[in-house]
Symmetry: C2
Subunit: 418 residues, 2 copies
């Protein structure tokens, strides 16, 4: 089977000047990788005739599929369409279907259409018109000597719509592609090198057609298994079989698969068990509540939270004892213990979570340097606490506290689940 190669060409001065981050190319890369198409080049050029034509001819020499984003606005700065017409040697003609789609687009939104917008429905005669339901610049599909070209607008949600509706489904029709099966195993509470040590022998024994990638992110490590072959069902079985081999070793760190996040995983566990949750966030300052309430339907299990940013409120609202704060300080096992139990009572919830720490950059001491954080989880079977020693960076400390607190709850919920 021939390896199909692609090139992504992003067009626009704003990308070169650093005004806009090119997230399109990254997303397209990921989608093509999932389909078994190899992205061999990415090129970014400005709104400049020679540079664009040069990028076209370079790309045509070396790849089978060329995906172009940007340079399709209604103004004169936008050169992609006229230059594609020139490059392919065909005139720009009115495409009545495209003009009426654009007219309809404006009508639906009650917005006025300018003559320039009408011209967006005029396309090179040698391309296939691809409707863009999310915007006014149509997609354009070309083929010449076995190389396929797609031009799309640079607005991310319009580009994604054209990729999802048209390009990605078309790939298996025009190319002979390998069948690929991906599965991402998501872990928390273990570092990348420890995880790698745990499964080193298994990784070395993986068959050639199954690839493993470690994708670390904030306090979490994802394991991505990719299997290449000809039969999807077989690949799926083989990947599941491989995962079952390591599950006894790493299962306790696994919180989900593929698109699952720690907060959606916890939501599912809470819903399943019919339990509810409340939070007392000192150093995390509302961040964990935000994570939890970002999940649609979280009101089914989330009762509420309190951010007591001063000791006075840890006492007045949460009922932490004055002696505790005086004797052990706000950043202590004893204080988070009382905070978690206090917030559980106030919100009549099954679980109460708490955080208290020195987020930084100021407020550290020799005994409790910046990055010292205590967390707690109170439940009907008692209260567990944990000390974290994090970084010098305030935002990172807040985020890592969030992961650790959610994982503390996950471990409780998972052990209840057994």
């Amino acid at each position: 089977m021939k390896l199909i190669k692609a090139e992504i060409i992003a067009i626009g001065d704003e990308l070169l000047y650093g005004q806009i981050m090119d997230t399109n190319s990254h997303w397209i890369s990921q989608q093509l990788d999932l389909k078994g198409v190899k992205v061999a080049h990415k090129t970014t050029v400005g709104d400049n005739r020679n540079d664009i034509l040069d990028a076209f001819s370079q790309a045509e020499k070396r790849v089978d599929l060329i995906l172009i984003t940007g340079g399709l606005g209604p103004t004169q700065d936008d050169l992609t369409k006229p230059l594609m017409a020139e490059y392919f040697g065909c005139p720009i003609v009115e495409v009545p279907e495209a003009v009426s789609a654009i007219t309809e687009f404006f009508k639906k939104r009650g917005r006025e259409m300018t003559p320039l917008n009408t011209l967006q429905g005029h396309l090179p005669a040698c391309c296939e018109y691809v409707p863009n339901p999310a915007g006014t610049a149509p997609g354009m599909w070309f083929e010449r000597n076995g190389t396929y070209w797609m031009s799309m607008p640079g607005v991310p949600h319009e580009m994604k719509r054209l990729m999802n509706d048209f390009v990605l489904p078309k790939l298996p029709e025009i190319f002979e592609l390998p069948v690929i099966y991906h599965k991402v195993v998501k872990t928390v509470g273990i570092g990348e090198s420890w995880l790698a040590d745990l499964i080193a022998d298994w990784e070395n024994a993986l068959p050639d057609h199954i690839r493993l990638a470690y994708l670390p992110s904030l306090g979490q490590v994802k394991l991505r298994l990719t299997a290449f072959g000809t039969n999807l069902i077989e690949l799926q079985e083989q990947v599941e079989q491989q995962i079952s081999l390591i599950f006894p070793r790493i299962g306790k760190y696994v919180f989900g698969y593929n698109e699952e996040t720690l907060e959606t995983a916890i939501g599912k566990l809470l819903k399943k068990s019919g339990k509810t949750l409340a939070l007392a966030e000192s150093c995390s300052g509302g961040y964990i509540s935000h994570l939890i309430t970002s999940v649609p339907g979280s009101s089914n299990y989330f009762q509420g939270s309190i951010v007591p940013y001063h000791n006075q409120f840890k006492q007045e609202i949460l009922g932490v004892k004055a002696e505790t704060l005086e004797k052990y300080g706000a950043v202590s096992e004893e204080t988070v213990h009382e905070m978690s139990e206090g917030v559980r009572k106030i919100f009549h919830s099954d679980f109460g979570l708490a955080s208290s720490g020195v987020a930084g950059p100021d407020g550290g001491s020799e005994e409790k340097p910046v990055g010292t954080v205590w967390i707690a989880c109170a439940g009907e079977n008692g209260t567990v606490t944990k000390k974290l020693q994090l970084t010098q960076d305030r935002l990172l400390n807040i985020q890592l506290t969030g992961v650790a607190v959610l994982n503390l709850l996950r471990v409780q919920l998972s052990s209840d689940d057994k």
Copy 2:
């Protein structure tokens, strides 16, 4: 003055497969733009000999400065160094200074050094060794026929260190560059097209050497003024003069300049006036508290917050009246009014902010569709409320509520400030 052109070449399979987002190229673009160097091309290639050599020769034909990132690890996959030696036709030799810097790097961190690490101190004989205090792969600086080349590691903080310490200060020495002055005016509470209408005549009358860019982001619009010339003090004065012309029209929307964020701006206003703040967040679920507490030193003015995710807690904790909830519902002017005053009392704060709304995707009704949000700001001079009609997207609704609530407070603080 000749326009100096640059090309960025990013090397690595992980960039093409979409495993890693190339944030380096974006950052480098921004830095070069600030220096008056025009980035004309960006190229990304994989760990492939021919593709890399081809990228080198294409770049050398068209630009004055070539910045290369990635492909400098200690393993055999990393091709940048041997291919640069091959391209420039010179052998790789031991650079004792580089070897001892790497040895020192490992010694300081108590980590063991492998023979492969020692080889990182061997460099092409025709390059200038550039120390990398943040890592083990040195920078390499080349010059040939008036084109300058810099090779840097792909790890972002190492690349930034080499750019900041070596490349950026070198540019004015090797090239004749224009003097550039940038200033970003940050606005909130007005849409891009309304803002553009307000200042259209001024924009059209801007002198040729001052450029304006609109940079919209979540609920905010930034105006970036860029002045080109030969004398920094003069440019600075001219830009300030231009801003003073529009300030009477747009001043009430301006919350800061350059790196200022809405939450740091509010922090400054609160500190200056010695006032304190508390929040009652229903639909925003802790997000606004997180924004505020992300700012170092926020404990000076932030007292705390309550996230009452059910009506019961709006009553029990915040003291919202049962009649109010029954008669008007949780998403109402009356409820946020009482929430903001309640939370102000509980935390003994000067200001109390509140949000309540239908974040979605569920929970909407004909009368109160998804995206309906009420916000309030209670202070010593009374309570102001505002209704927002936002989007269908849960996360976006949470974020836009955050901007609107912070802006409500900003307006109060700014009018107190006068």
